[in-house]
């Protein structure tokens, strides 16, 4: 149905696509795999009319096409869910879903019809609870992702492109998504699916195309039968698996964080927890269970009642500035909105949290700053390894690494990591795990939030399970397995 041949896309200084081929058949789920920065998003943006390719041809149903604008692509029947959320915060859910193809007569919007349409699509996606009239800016990231999907479904598309749709979703949501995808493919719609989670590829995918450094390295591999090791080595050129580093060799030290009875009305209540030096504590729970909010409250970025004690010192309500000065660091979940200075260099982004370390009377020692940033870029394998590049030209996964790198500086006592591996490829993930474990080894306490239960279980020493804003279980990670955690999360049964 869709044939792309020899697609080349050159950005200033980077050849993002260097002759990529892609074949997609009607009714199949075609998975696109590749490391961070391999060029997946760029490829689908070419398809969606966002970027114009420098070379190469696209054929759709036998006819050559060249989508010159997103509008062209939509008219061709391509609908896209982009990696970076592409919603308008000020508009309602329904308005976002039908943006650009509103229910209208003579230019007058038929609001009721729009709301009805939105309700239908949302129900189909299994999210009848999202009100069509709700303002999108006030939704959680997960709900935004759902709206983004609803937008793609609202077009009568023949090809749906999904760029990491599951990154912001939790387990049950992904199941929901897959149900929809199956419905679509049954109707002959083709789906291009991008994800860094191999188990998803196995479950939903039909065929796989692997990209590496802007080139196609494998086409049309069977998604279910290709051995993981083969895929990973195609992607990364080495043999890594989901490897969690071994747990702490030494016993955790003193308590670095104690949280007592922390409550933020509407988000969570009565949270009590502690983190010791050298310990990684994981928070598991559904999307919307208030995990991010707990991290923010601990960090002082969100008003809450209760006590937060850092290294024996009670933090008064002084906000983030004091928390950072006392040795906390937060890697937030929405990197673009909450963490990155898009226009600034990778270096400036990395050192933002620890500027005083590099300065004397406010004067920045630029040589030392550059050296430290370069060291971290190498340690975390941020690509391209050019600390002076504006960070917005990096791929999503590499940006995420830079966010983490920020808090590897400045002698932190406690790190709060919210979805630290969102959008990070398999190989890099293993590297990040090693880095996080390494931090713990150095005596830093880590409080980790992740929607991927295996990640929480594999990386954390201790796990807290949250449901609807309260802790329903805590215990050693070794005593839990994925099923038990999921049971608790879904049904609220304490183990």
């Amino acid at each position: 149905m869709l044939v792309m041949r020899g697609i080349v896309k050159q950005f200033p200084g980077v050849r993002a696509l260097d002759g990529v081929d892609l074949d997609v058949r009607a009714g199949e789920v075609h998975c696109l795999l590749g490391q961070n920065g391999a060029g997946k998003s760029t490829l689908i943006k070419v398809l969606a009319g966002v970027h114009r390719p420098d070379e190469g041809t696209i054929e759709f149903n036998g006819a050559p096409v060249s989508p010159g604008s997103p509008n062209d692509a939509i008219r061709l029947g391509f609908a896209t869910i982009y990696q970076e959320l592409d919603l308008v915060d000020g508009l309602s859910v329904a308005e976002n879903i039908f943006l650009g193809h509103e229910h209208a007569r003579l230019g007058f919007v038929r609001r009721a019809a729009g709301n009805r349409g939105a309700r239908e699509v949302l129900a189909r996606l299994g999210h009848p609870e999202i009100r069509p009239s709700a303002e999108v800016g006030r939704l959680s990231p997960a709900a935004k992702q759902v709206v983004s999907m609803a937008r793609a479904l609202s077009h009568d598309a023949r090809l749906i492109i999904m760029d990491e749709p599951s990154a912001a979703l939790a387990h049950d949501e992904v199941a929901n998504l897959f149900r929809i995808i199956r419905e679509l493919t049954a109707q002959g719609v083709a789906v291009v699916y991008i994800s860094h989670r191999l188990e998803e590829i196995r479950e939903i995918g039909d065929r796989v195309t692997v990209l590496k450094d802007g080139r196609t390295v494998a086409v049309g591999l069977p998604a279910r039968d290709t051995p993981t090791s083969q895929i990973v080595s195609l992607m990364t050129g080495r043999n890594v698996e989901y490897v969690f580093p071994p747990r702490a060799s030494r016993r955790p030290g003193d308590e670095v964080l104690r949280v007592e009875d922390l409550t933020s009305p509407g988000a969570f209540a009565g949270v009590t927890l502690s983190v010791r030096a050298g310990e990684i504590v994981g928070l598991a729970g559904l999307v919307g269970s208030g995990r991010s909010e707990i991290l923010e409250a601990v960090y002082g970025a969100r008003p809450a009642t209760g006590q937060v004690v850092l290294a024996g010192e009670r933090l008064r309500r002084g906000g983030v500035v004091r928390a950072v000065r006392r040795g906390m660091g937060l890697a937030p979940e929405e990197r673009k909105a909450q963490a990155l200075l898009l226009d600034q260099s990778v270096t400036a982004n990395i050192t933002l949290g620890s500027l005083p370390e590099f300065a004397r009377f406010g004067w920045i020692d630029r040589a030392r700053e550059r050296a430290e940033a370069t060291r971290l870029v190498e340690a975390l394998d941020i690509r391209p390894p050019a600390p002076e590049r504006p960070i917005k030209t990096l791929s999503g996964g590499n940006q995420q690494k830079a966010v983490l790198a920020r808090w590897l500086l400045g002698g932190r006592k406690l790190l709060l990591l919210d979805e630290p591996t969102r959008g990070v490829d398999v190989g890099a993930r293993a590297d990040l795990y090693a880095v996080i474990r390494g931090l713990a080894e150095q005596g830093i306490g880590v409080l980790l939030v992740s929607s991927e239960v295996p990640e929480v279980l594999g990386l954390a020493d201790r796990v807290l399970v949250l449901r609807e804003g309260s802790v329903i279980h805590q215990g050693a990670a070794e005593d839990l397995d994925e099923h038990r955690v999921l049971d608790m999360i879904m049904e609220g049964r304490a183990a």
Binding site: R75, D86, V88, G90, L91, G100, F108, V109
Partner: protein, 314 residues
């Protein structure tokens, strides 16, 4: 959103209420008279029409500094001797065409020339004033007696209210409908709120942006007719610093300069606050310096009142 909308304007209503109370207390005899209210509305009409256009541009993520200058140019062009020969109707059409045309140039520069709106419209401000001066030879151009139909917009009253107030009301209503009930309005919010997302949704962001400036120019053209009616003249000095007043009204009304949010009603309420302040000063005969100081303070208080209300919404 409409529910939030009402909430959002509460602070403005409170501010207006307070000013009205001050008026009633300080000048019980003069303030609440029909003639005073009509006078206020006539005063507000010209800049009010411009404010409607400015609201669109600002919600759409832009800014238009050239409104006053475009109005001046339109008024001058419509009152040259050559134009006046064709009668009042052609004069009105001329004002509207000139306004829209100048707005379109702004739009082209911003949307397709990709100039920052601030600069493009600043250049237009400067150039339009220059052109207006050249055209009028820096003289004030009287509307001739044969064309007094234009002046009658200001002098003829219907139910005691001058026609130009009706024009103002009509523009507000049409603007409200356009913003809230049409795809054009919907897309304006999208283009201002997240242009990238709007583009990805298949909206022609550039074309839309261009249209927004043209719309603002159209409003300036209409405003030119009103100022011609009120002053019986066209002049290159008309509308001096209107850009600041219009933008201030829009922002006090709760529209964000970053775009994507805002309401026509808010802008008009914001404008009424300014008009009320001026009126109270006139009635109470404050001297200019004290007026300025008081105006500064009142602006701050009005916005603080409103902010308190916005807080929860943001």
């Amino acid at each position: 959103m409409s529910r939030l909308g009402q909430m959002r304007h509460l602070g403005l209503f409170v501010a207006i209420g307070l000013l009205v109370i001050v008026g009633l207390i300080t000048k019980p005899d003069n303030f609440a008279t029909t003639s005073n209210v009509v006078s206020m509305l006539s005063l507000a009409a010209t800049i009010g029409v411009i404010t409607v256009g400015a609201t669109f541009v600002i919600i759409g993520g832009g800014i238009d500094l050239s409104v006053g200058a475009i109005m001046a140019l339109a008024s001058v062009w419509a009152t040259t001797l050559a134009t006046q020969e064709f009668g009042p109707f052609v004069m009105a059409v001329c004002a509207i065409l000139v306004g829209t045309g100048a707005g379109l140039v702004n739009g082209l520069l911003v949307a397709y020339g990709r100039l920052v709106p601030f600069i493009a419209t600043l250049a237009m401000l400067v150039a339009a004033r220059g052109l207006a001066q050249r055209m009028s030879d820096r003289k004030t151009q009287l509307i001739q007696t044969g064309n007094s139909a234009i002046v009658e917009l200001s002098t003829t009253r219907l139910l005691g209210i001058p026609l130009l107030v009706y024009v103002f009301a009509l523009v507000v209503v049409l603007g409200w409908i356009l913003l809230n009930r049409t795809t054009f309005g919907r897309r304006t919010y999208a283009v201002g709120g997240n242009p990238e997302a709007a583009r990805l949704a298949g909206i022609d962001v550039r074309r839309h942006t261009m249209l927004l400036y043209a719309l603002s120019g159209l409003c300036c053209g209409i405003a030119a007719i009103l100022i011609m009616a009120r002053t019986t003249t066209g002049s290159s000095t008309h509308g001096d610093l209107y850009e600041l007043d219009a933008i201030a009204a829009v922002i006090i009304g709760g529209t964000l300069l970053t775009g994507g949010r805002g309401t026509i009603i808010g802008s008009i309420l914001g404008l009424l606050i300014f008009t009320l302040i001026t009126n109270l000063f006139i009635l109470n005969g404050l001297n200019t310096s004290d007026q300025l100081i008081a105006k500064g303070l009142i602006i701050v208080v009005a916005v603080l009142l409103q902010r308190r209300n916005l807080k929860e919404i943001r």
